[in-house]
Amino acid sequence: MSGGLTLQVLWDTSADAIAARAAAWSAMAEDIDNAAEDVIRGTREIEDVWPSGPAAEAATKRAAELRAEVSNAYNPCRRIGLALREHADTVRALQESLRNVTTSASQQGFDVDIAAGTVTAPQHMYTETTSPHLVAQSVSAYVGQLQGILDRAAESDDRTANLITINLPDPKTGFGSLSLQPVSRQNVLDQKGRPPKDVAAWWDTLTPEQQEQAIADYPELVGWLDGVPATDRDTANRISLDRSLADLQGKVNALDSREAYLKAMADQGRLGEVYPDSANPVGSMYAELDGIEEQREAAAGPLAGANAIKNRLDDPGKPPALLMGFDPAGDGKAIVSVGDPDTADNVVTYVPGTTADLPGFGTDLNRADTMASDAAQYGTGGSTAAIVWLGYDAPDAIPNATSASYAEDGAPALRTFQEGLRATHDGSASHNTIIGHSYGSTTVGYAAKDGHLAADDLIFVGSPGVGVDSAQDLHIDGNAGNVYASTAKNDVIAGAGLDDNMIHGENPDNPGFGGRQFTSADGSFWHPIDTHSQYWDQGNPSRKNIAYIVTGQGDQVS
């Protein structure tokens, strides 16, 4: 394939032309992906709405073939696009090397013939030196460099040609109409704990049909898998959310029905029928009613949180949001992004603190909306996605917040989530910020203390300490100058320490911490608890400063 490749061919090749073809293949792959999703969603109900008869069977069979055919076309197109893009980058880099070598050789007085692929020394260079062997060595070195460039070009050319060949459709069978093997639960479970970039690579190997099947069959697994694109996680988590809502509402309805039944039987004096073995049917009824009330209260919180998320996702008056995680178990966990983090220029991840749970998730959702809106207003013109990340079990009450265990337990999940954002982002890297409020700042701090946290900037507001005494000890993509903090003068959290020694380490809003401080409104001396929650209030300069940091204008904070 690369037998005719010469330095002259490399010199004359247009890397931009290759890149343009790469873009065309990638665009076609994206179109196929979208078409595949349309075909899958448009045909999978055929069996339900047209269940029997020869025509129905034929339609079902043909629909399955179509789904497979269009799905099978996606990955080959994508791979060709990626191969061409990589080849374009390689050609560009090798051309630069070639220019450098020829320039250097010419400046040393050697003659370089690109067409012939030779480097020669004029005769006078041999006669005018006492060490002609050094001239010969230089010639040999330059020739060696040129040969190395040519070898790498040939290698890239061969690799790219091979990738194109193996990914082209068969002239007779196209890309085939057989569905690839379904993704098993074990396949998905095997991805847990792997680096998100590896998960992303695995997800990309699946056809659209396989991805759809994995999402439909294992939404509770795919929805939390860092490295899966945000829109696919959203599809999975909406399935989990709808199931949870139906389940929770079903429980409440069953409790209501049972309560109504018991009261009706009591009114009719028939409680003996309800509790035939009880010596005190009335007492048994009241005991059961107490139990019903307890169960109803237990279901009410998660139901309220799930409904708050559902209402936000379905709100046409607000920017589109993606559900990147949902789990109603225990206090509940959820991740919602206002905007798509895989396409946004800026991404801010908000980590709430003490008392954060699913029932109160609406408050955190509102803050994400506020930060997305502020970024749009104070930004330079790029797009911003604002995520509320409740992917950990936050302390239920203030006394629990004296323990670092919640932060230690949540830190690994936050780290992999941030790595996942990097792994699935389209195009050039976004500017990523994490903001921790109250105990949320402690969780962020532990995530950056005990490992690398993929964020360009960190913000701590109303912090009781972040697990370290110096910004230098936080490991992020940026440095200590990218660590920002603010605590309002009358924030009650300021009392969680003596001088600047907070319960979880040095106060990050202190010059001695080594980060950067910004201004928040003082708040009211008489309302220190309210002040702790006012960093997102109208007129508070913290909002403006947060927006500056989130949009990459940290030099503007004051």
Binding site: P352, G360, G381, G495, G497, D530, S533, D537
Partner: protein, 161 residues
């Protein structure tokens, strides 16, 4: 500071929090309903745009009418906030608009909460109506591409819905 000292100081803080949580920290809420708050927030924005140079209109960008006043939602107090973009025709006097509006607010019972009018890229003024505590802000955002986007942000104080 030792862990014991830190725990001790936190306990002091918790004691304060506990005392405050029993009622000492309750905010003075105005006697408005949620519907009235939403309506007044919108009315204040309309009032502002009426006193801008002619030609500007409002485009609502975000309405939040169920914002909790504190993380723990102790007493159910709420506030509302609505954001608007000020849409203006070509040639509209953006720079003059800030002065025009601030003069109006100054003469009509508003007091300054934050004055960042000197900010080169994001001149902003946030004021509060003394009579009821409702706030409104005016922001001019100068973009990298030379465009200037203008925003109004109108909000209520905390109230019991």
């Amino acid at each position: 500071m030792s862990a014991r000292q830190r725990t001790f100081t936190l306990v002091l803080a918790l004691a304060t929090i506990g005392a405050l949580a029993t009622g000492c920290d309750s905010t003075q809420e105005p006697t408005v309903t949620k519907e009235e708050a939403v309506q007044r927030v919108a009315a204040r924005a309309e009032e502002a745009v009426q006193h801008l140079p002619p030609g500007a209109t409002l485009k609502q960008t975000l309405q939040q009418d169920d914002l909790a006043c504190d993380d723990q939602d102790r007493d159910g107090a709420r506030f509302v906030e609505t954001n608007y973009q000020v849409v203006y025709p070509e040639g509209w006097p953006v720079d003059q608009s800030m002065t025009t509006l601030s003069d109006y607010w100054n003469a009509n019972g508003y007091e300054v909460v934050r004055d960042d009018r000197d900010d080169a890229n994001h001149p902003e003024l946030v004021v509060e109506k003394k009579a009821d505590g409702f706030r409104i802000g005016y922001l001019i955002s100068r973009r990298d591409n030379g465009a200037a986007d203008v925003f109004l942000r109108s909000s209520s104080p905390c109230f019991q819905p």
